[in-house]
Amino acid sequence: MHFVSRVRQRLDDTELQRNLQRTRGRNAAARLASLASLDDFDAVRERATEIRASVLRDLDVWLERFEAEATRRGATVLWARDGDEACRLVIDIARRHDVKTVVKAKSMVSEEAGLNAALEAAGIRPVETDLGEYILQINDNEPPSHIIMPVIHKSKEQVSELFARVHGTAAKTDIVELTREAREKLRPEFLGAEMGISGGNFLIAETGSVAIVTNEGNGRMCTTMPRVHVALTGIEKVIPTLDDLATLLRILPRSATGQAISNYVSLLTGPKHEGDADGPEHMYFVLVDGGRADLIGGDFEPMLRCIRCGACMNHCPVYQTIGGHSYGWVYPGPMGSVLTPLYQGLEKAKDLPQAATLCNQCGVVCPVSIPLPDLMRKLREKQVDAGLRPWSERLSMRLWAWVAQRPKLYARGVRFAVRYLRWLADGRDRIQAMGVAPGWTAERDFPAPAAQSFRDQYAARQRRAGR
């Protein structure tokens, strides 16, 4: 479906609009409140930005360092050029260890790769264990609408109806009871699954570890109970040291949910040791490229600093109005408007870089200082270069350029436009209906212009001053 029709549908969906409005602004307020407990937020942000940027400058070497360290500590590091290859690797691992059921903690890379469908096709049962992801999975594998709060678009009534239908239980409307019901459904899965798949918030080169940040504890379950643990992450997730992890953890949960720290941060290094009471016998890393390497050294390299906090969407007026599903791929909001065209192809996401007001709220809150509006603007330029804009837009731009290069003609045009607009305004300071561009005034007024253009006023003033 086309972007515009997707958006239209979402705007007309009163239930979705109610759900979106309920949480609108809440995370933004929580974030702001949580920054107070950092003495100097800007300094932490600057440091976080530099940590991420410095790794990207030497990414090949950092990855080799991480690989060597992880291997030395008993993990197996595998590489995948794209999502399909990642799926094949994961399925191979599952087959090697005779795995029937996989418990999954949230991994956006797994969404990128379409891993669940691939596992099912291979006869392996994936079970999502993050409450939000679980709700989506039992609702016919609905895609998430937010990278941190996957079911932000749903009401408790919708969840209640879904649980009653799928679990065959009496409908509950109390959120505590719904959460308890999911806990009871998932507990046996954690205890019974042969393999756990997690994402990775950070890969630490110093120790060859993966850091996993969750609130629910499902990340700990998936990486503690099953015999095999696979951490599936993008190649850009490496950071140098444990000290860097400490810095980034000051800024990630605050930017995401306004927490000073998430409930669980697990730093996992290799498989279970001889004599350990628990933990997986085998640990694998699958490092996925999926379009990332191509961004290194170019205009879009800053995007790879992203730590997937979701702050940009929590602050985006467009995202908060149209919801995450309108964006059409795994990543919504401003970061999605940049990543989707880069990873999926410019022509597959023509409208996304345009679906922004360039208000720069996202750029201001991004904890790793990604200039999101600049990147969207660059994508717009690339669209123009690739001839991907509609002919009407191209023609009007060319016409505009032609006129703008002829000052006299331009001045005459402006004078004419001013007269026309003031005639429309009919003495008021705003125009309610504009015949030549009805779309502009469909849902807002257009301000009436001043009687004289700036150039005319300036010229008159110069004349009065006798210059």
Binding site: R26, L38, D39, D40, A43, A48, S54, D58, D60, V61, W62, R65, L78, W79, R81, E85, T129, D130, L131, I135, V151, K154, K156, I175, T179, R180, R187, F190, E206, S209, N215, E216, G217, R220, M221, T224, I235, P240, D243, A246, T247, R250, A260, I261, S262, N263, Y264, V265, S266, L267, P271, K272, H273, G275, D276, A277, D278, L287, D289, G298
Partner: protein, 216 residues
């Protein structure tokens, strides 16, 4: 066909403009960054670390109790559990096996928790004052499951183990471990979720309650 690894690294090198001759210098630089690892900007606070830890832990909805000596631990645990109506059945991490559990009146098993154990008692490697967080390390003496599977987690926190922040805890860990533990778990209060209507519910998959017993 070249391997995915060679392919990805090759593309990165090309985009970065890395000549083969420059690689050793880059590796040396990376090792240097790790060896000279520096903490970033850290919030500072005046006053007692333990007081700060307790205040932050309570804000995370952990409950806190204090006792004077390790010998008091079993009785304090029993007192709290019975007061809360949480029963007498506990599984205790081997690291705490040396305490006198026999006279506590609790029904104690030393070992690793299973899915049905109602209460897990653990020690703690370090505790972090900045956020009220426990740092637990997995091992033969300290099963990770004891702070995960039971509905109630009691952590015994020696007062001298409370450090300012994660950086300080890592500095201790770098010196303490001959072999880096499989899992370092940072636990900040009971398990929670806010996935449905952004309403916070405790006990998503892990413990419903975390009780801290500060010793010393």
């Amino acid at each position: 066909m070249s391997s995915a690894r060679d392919d990805i690294l090759g593309r990165l090198r090309q985009r970065i403009g890395r000549e083969p001759a420059g690689a050793p210098a880059a590796h040396a630089r990376v090792e240097q960054v790790i060896a000279a690892s520096q903490a970033g900007p850290r919030p500072s606070y005046d006053g007692d670390l333990a007081a700060r830890f307790i205040e932050r832990a309570k804000a995370l909805i952990s409950t806190v109790d204090e006792c004077a000596a390790p010998a008091d631990v079993p009785a304090r645990c029993a007192h709290w559990l019975i007061g809360q109506g949480l029963g007498r059945q506990v599984v205790v991490s081997p690291a705490l096996a040396g305490l006198d559990w026999a006279t506590s009146g609790l029904d104690v098993r030393i070992g690793a928790a299973g899915g049905d154990d109602p209460v897990g008692v653990t020690g703690c490697f370090r505790a972090i004052a900045e956020t009220g967080t426990l740092m637990l390390c997995s091992g033969a003496q300290s099963p990770a499951v004891n702070s995960l599977l039971p509905q109630t987690h009691i952590a015994v926190v020696p007062r001298e183990h409370i450090v300012a922040d994660m950086e300080a805890a890592f500095a201790v860990a770098r010196d303490a471990f001959e072999r880096w533990p499989r899992a370092l778990n940072f636990v900040s209060g009971p398990s929670r979720t806010a996935d449905i209507e952004q309403t916070i519910v405790l006990g998503a998959h892990g413990p419903y309650r975390v009780h801290l017993l500060i010793v010393g």
